[in-house]
């Protein structure tokens, strides 16, 4: 019995959400009085792999097969399941990232395992292994018992936090046979906007809605986000009108996020929008309508015109940063 965490790399580096998944998996390993092994697939330098020891991984399995340099969820799932078998791991942890969402269900089927995705807390320690996960698009949580012998958990970004737990770590190469039929998807192109903070795992988010009146008014939103090191987001009407890309739409039918800070500008706060952002730790609402429903779920609010408030906020932030 042990815990295995899949550490997703992007261009040879691990992101904060990976260290968070390792921290979470380490806490589960401690609960279960067992060891934590990490598995990395793709080109990652040994020094980067050893970073995982900082958060509690005792061993890192390094898979660097040529066919697996880029993500193929079928083959990755096979490799992770093989590693779970080798390590006698019965609990598999991953980050609930875009790739994690494609991978976790396949691993669960391979291992006949119950899957809790969108996990926000550690499993219960009462022998039932119940995991609290988001449900109803942020309007509720479902405490889900994983009743199978093997268990898979996909952790929501920003739910647990990064916790250091310095551990002596060894790196081991791991190779397993890769079936040709597992390589059915071929990546032709990867496009990454390197100058922008990615929204799903962002700690700070600046979001704007129809109150901004037109797409050309997003300059100040971008500037504010840039100063804060925040990701930008928007409400559904804005992405429906193609003022902003769909990937920025947060809400019930967009993506759900749980940043430390969510600043909503010119968004009234319809129930569908609130669903996607209600697990943000701190919510700031800027709206000229004092009756906007968003104020009811906000921690801080400014009743005022976005076109006056946001430029002042930018000036104040510049002054604050010196």
């Amino acid at each position: 019995m042990s815990v295995l965490v899949y550490v997703e790399q992007a261009e040879g580096k691990f992101k904060k959400s990976v260290f968070e998944a390792v921290s979470y998996a380490k806490a589960i390993a401690d609960q279960q009085s067992t060891n934590l092994t990490a598995i990395s697939i793709g080109d990652v330098a040994e020094s980067e792999l050893k970073e995982l020891g900082k958060y509690g991984a005792a061993k890192v399995l390094n898979v660097s097969a040529d066919q697996l340099k880029t993500f193929v969820n079928q083959a990755y799932a096979s490799v992770i399941a093989a590693a779970a078998e080798k390590e006698s791991a019965d609990i598999i942890v991953l980050s609930n990232s875009f790739s994690g969402k494609g991978l976790a269900p396949r691993i669960a089927v391979k291992l006949k395992a119950g899957l809790a995705d969108g996990a926000v807390e550690l499993p219960s320690n009462d022998g039932k292994f119940s995991v609290k996960k988001t449900a109803f698009s942020g309007k509720a949580f479902a405490v889900t018992e994983l009743t199978s012998a093997n268990k898979v958990i996909a952790l929501n970004p920003n739910a647990f936090g990064v916790k250091e737990n310095p551990t002596e770590v060894t790196v081991e190469n791991f190779a397993t046979e890769i079936k040709q039929s597992d390589l059915g998807t071929v990546i032709k192109e990867i496009v990454r906007a390197t100058d922008k903070v990615s929204l799903p795992d962002a700690e700070l988010v600046v979001s704007a809605g129809r109150g901004l009146k037109a797409p050309e008014n997003w300059g100040m939103i971008e500037e504010l986000a840039g100063l804060l090191g925040a990701a930008t987001a928007c409400s559904k009407p804005v992405s429906d009108a193609d003022w902003r890309p769909h990937s920025e739409h947060v809400g019930q039918t967009g993506i759900s996020i749980s940043p430390n800070l969510y600043i909503a500008i010119g968004i009234s706060g319809a129930i569908q929008h609130l669903a996607g952002v209600s697990s943000s730790k701190v919510i700031v609402v800027i709206n000229k309508d004092p009756e906007a429903p968003f104020f009811k779920v906000a921690d801080y609010g400014i009743v005022g015109d976005a076109f006056e408030v946001v430029p002042k906020l930018i000036e104040a932030l510049k002054a604050h940063k010196g």
Binding site: N73, K188, A193, V282
Partner: protein, 245 residues
């Protein structure tokens, strides 16, 4: 071309979510059900790809007879026929197994789902169906083109996108961007009444998860308002009180 689209029956997006029976069951009283909005996107793309006699679209739902109006709605949008696997959908693992069992000998070129259902937010079914059938799956896609034998797909990744090709049968879960959701026409609604809706029985599969109870998010304290002419004090509060910047 034969496409199978998986349809989930979910509470309308405006539903206030409450629970009964000591928070162990979703309170269905007064709830309006709809086709899961993401599944509508998948269905709309399937209809576009098969338009003009290029193929057929079958929708499949795992659920009890109460789901039939939702299934009929999918037929009204433009699916050719429908299948309902007659069982309460226990969890994604159960649902995926039922869909895979139905699909395994039907020769569908592709199986599409929505990126997630808006009730359990799993995004599990597509990849699980792929695994049960041992065929490729691509999750959370934003664009889908098909040339009759292979597909070119854009999938979302953190801060960008990935363009993927896949040959042969596959499963994909669709997000916004894949298609504009189609609205049923009056003719569609009329014809939906007579389109085939076949009911099949479920196969047995082991239980792997069970919802122990539901919780609702803790209410927030009341909002602290900052006057519009003292914007700089908000920065101070976020820095020293909330400690988020």
């Amino acid at each position: 071309m034969k496409i199978l689209v998986c349809i989930s029956n979910v509470p309308d997006t405006t539903t206030k979510i409450t629970f009964t029976n000591d928070n162990t069951e979703f309170n269905t009283a007064g709830v309006q059900y709809i086709v899961n909005p993401y599944d509508e996107i998948a269905l709309s793309r399937a209809i576009e790809l098969t338009e003009g006699g290029k193929g057929t679209v079958t929708v499949i739902n795992v659920g009890e007879a109460a789901n039939d109006p939702t299934v009929r709605k999918a037929l009204a949008i433009g699916a050719d026929d429908a299948v309902r696997v007659n069982a309460a959908p226990r969890d994604a693992y159960f649902v995926a197994k039922q869909i895979a069992e139905y699909a395994k000998d039907k020769d569908f070129d592709m199986i599409l789902t929505g990126r997630e259902s808006i009730d359990y937010n799993g995004n599990q079914v597509a990849a699980m169906v792929g695994e049960f059938l041992d065929i490729p799956s691509v999750s959370i896609i934003k664009k889908l083109d098909y040339d009759g034998s292979s597909a070119t797909i854009e999938r979302e990744i953190e801060g960008g996108k990935e363009v993927v090709t896949v040959s042969g049968k596959f499963v994909a879960s669709c997000a916004e961007g894949v298609a504009e959701p189609k609205i049923p026409t009056m003719r569609g609604i009329m014809s939906a009444r007579t389109k085939p809706l076949n009911v099949v029985e479920a196969v047995a599969i082991e239980e792997v998860t069970k919802v122990a109870k539901y919780e609702t998010p803790a209410p927030r304290g009341s909002v602290k308002l900052v006057p519009a002419d003292q914007v700089e004090s908000l920065i101070g509060l976020l820095h020293s009180e909330a400690k988020v910047i």
